[in-house]
Amino acid sequence: MMQTLLGRKLLLQGGSATAVHWAINSVKKGGIVSIVGVYGPIDTLVPIGNVVNKGITIRANQASVKRLLPRLIEHVKNGVLNPKALISHRIPLEYISDAYRMFSAKLDHCIKPVLLPAGARA
C-alpha cells in the first residue's frame, strides 16, 4: 500500500519496491536477497528492520556482462540455455513508437520485442 502510494502515485520511488518487499519478507532467516534491475539511486523504501532482524544478506549489482559472457556462450552452445525463445515480437525500427506503446501496455503478450533496422531485414 505504502509502496503503491509512494512509488506509482507520487513517483518518489524508482524501481519495483513491491518486489523488494516481497523478497525480504519471504526469504528465510539468514537468507540472501539478490536484486537486479533498475532502482532510483536513493529513494526506494527498504524494510531495513526486517533485514537486520532476520539476518538477511542483500546482494545487488548491474550485471558484469563481460565477465559472464564466456561461460554463458558455452551454455548457449551446449543448449543449456535457449535465450531466443524469449523473443515475443520482431518489429521494424520505423514502428518504434508503436513498439513502445505495445510493450508498455503488454498488448498482445509482448514481453520482449526486437527491433530490426531496414538494413538487417532479409
Binding site: 550485471a63 558484469s64 551454455h75
Partner: protein, 262 residues
C-alpha cells in the same frame, strides 16, 4: 540515419538524426542488426529516470556490424559482427580490474551513482543507444565481442543484457544445493534467473508475478513453477518445474533442441 528520438514521457518517435562519428581513437561505429526494447527502457519511457534528456536515443541491448574504427582500436575490424554488452567499461580502472564491468568509474561523469550504460539517460553517462541504424561504441577494445559463427543473432542480442543479468541474479543469490529459490517478476530476466537457478543446484524454483500469460508458460517449461499472486491469494498456474538433474539431460537430447523452451 534513422534513430529513436525521446520527446518526453510516453512520447517517442523515429527521426532522421545525424550519423554518429568517431570522437576518440578507441571508438567504433556499429551498424545495428538487432536491438531490443528492455523492460528497463520503460522507466525511461515513463519519464521516471532522472536527467533523461529530450533528443536522446535509448537502447542498451544491441548487436551490429563494425562500420568504422578509430586509430586505437586493435580488437575489432570493419565487417566484424559484434554483440555489445550494455555496460560501458574502460577496462583499466580499479573496478574494471576487479571484473566489476558494470561499475566502471571512467565511463560516466556520475560514476558514483552508476557506471556508463548505452542509451540510459545522462545519469548513466549520456550515451546514445542502439535503437537506431548506427551507434557509437566507446572503449571498443574492451566491451564488444565478435559473435561466433554458429551463434544465432537472436541469441547474441539477448546475451548483451537479459541472460547475464538473470544469471548474475542467480549467482548473487548464493544458491546452495537443495535450496528453494523464489524469483519475483516473470519477465525475461526473471525467467532467465529461474532457469539459471537450476544450474547452481536449486531443488525448487518458483516465479511470482501478478500477470503470467500462457505464452510465457508455454515457453518456460524448463524454467520454473509459476505462481500468480492476486489480492488475497497466491495460486499456482503451472507445475511443470523439473528437478535439476532433468535439465542438462534434456538439454543434451535432440528432442530438447527442437523445443522452443528457454
Amino acid at each position: 540515419m534513422l534513430a529513436m528520438n525521446y520527446r518526453g514521457p510516453l512520447r517517442v518517435r523515429i527521426d532522421e538524426m545525424p550519423m554518429p562519428e568517431v570522437q576518440h581513437p578507441d571508438d567504433a561505429i556499429v551498424r545495428v542488426t538487432r536491438s531490443c526494447i528492455c523492460g528497463s527502457d520503460l522507466h525511461l519511457y515513463n519519464g521516471s529516470v532522472p536527467d533523461t534528456r529530450v533528443g536522446m536515443t535509448f537502447g542498451h541491448e544491441f548487436t551490429g556490424t563494425v562500420e568504422e574504427v578509430g586509430s586505437g582500436v586493435t580488437k575489432l575490424k570493419r565487417g566484424d559482427h559484434v554483440l555489445v554488452p550494455f555496460n560501458i567499461s574502460c577496462g583499466k580502472c580499479v573496478f574494471c580490474q576487479q571484473e566489476l564491468y558494470g561499475n566502471c568509474h571512467e565511463s560516466n561523469p556520475q560514476a558514483t551513482a552508476v557506471g556508463g550504460i548505452y542509451g540510459y539517460s545522462h545519469t548513466a553517462g549520456g550515451y546514445n543507444g542502439g535503437q537506431a541504424e548506427y551507434v557509437r561504441v566507446p572503449y571498443a577494445n574492451v566491451g564488444p565481442m565478435v559473435i561466433p559463427d554458429w551463434m544465432d543473432p537472436d541469441d547474441a542480442v539477448l546475451l548483451t543484457d537479459v541472460v547475464p543479468t538473470g544469471y548474475q541474479a542467480a549467482e548473487m543469490g548464493g544458491i546452495q544445493p537443495g535450496d528453494t529459490v523464489a524469483v519475483f517478476g516473470a519477465g525475461p530476466v526473471g525467467i532467465m534467473a529461474a532457469r539459471c537457478a537450476w544450474l547452481f543446484g536449486a531443488a525448487r524454483v518458483m516465479v511470482f508475478d501478478c500477470v503470467i500469460t500462457g505464452w510465457i508458460l508455454s515457453r518456460s517449461t524448463r524454467a520454473a513453477r509459476f505462481m500468480i499472486f492476486g489480492r488475497s491469494e497466491i495460486r499456482c498456474c503451472s507445475s511443470s518445474a523439473r528437478p535439476i538433474s532433468w535439465a542438462p539431460m534434456f538439454a543434451s537430447t535432440r528432442w530438447a533442441r527442437k523445443q522452443p523452451a528457454i
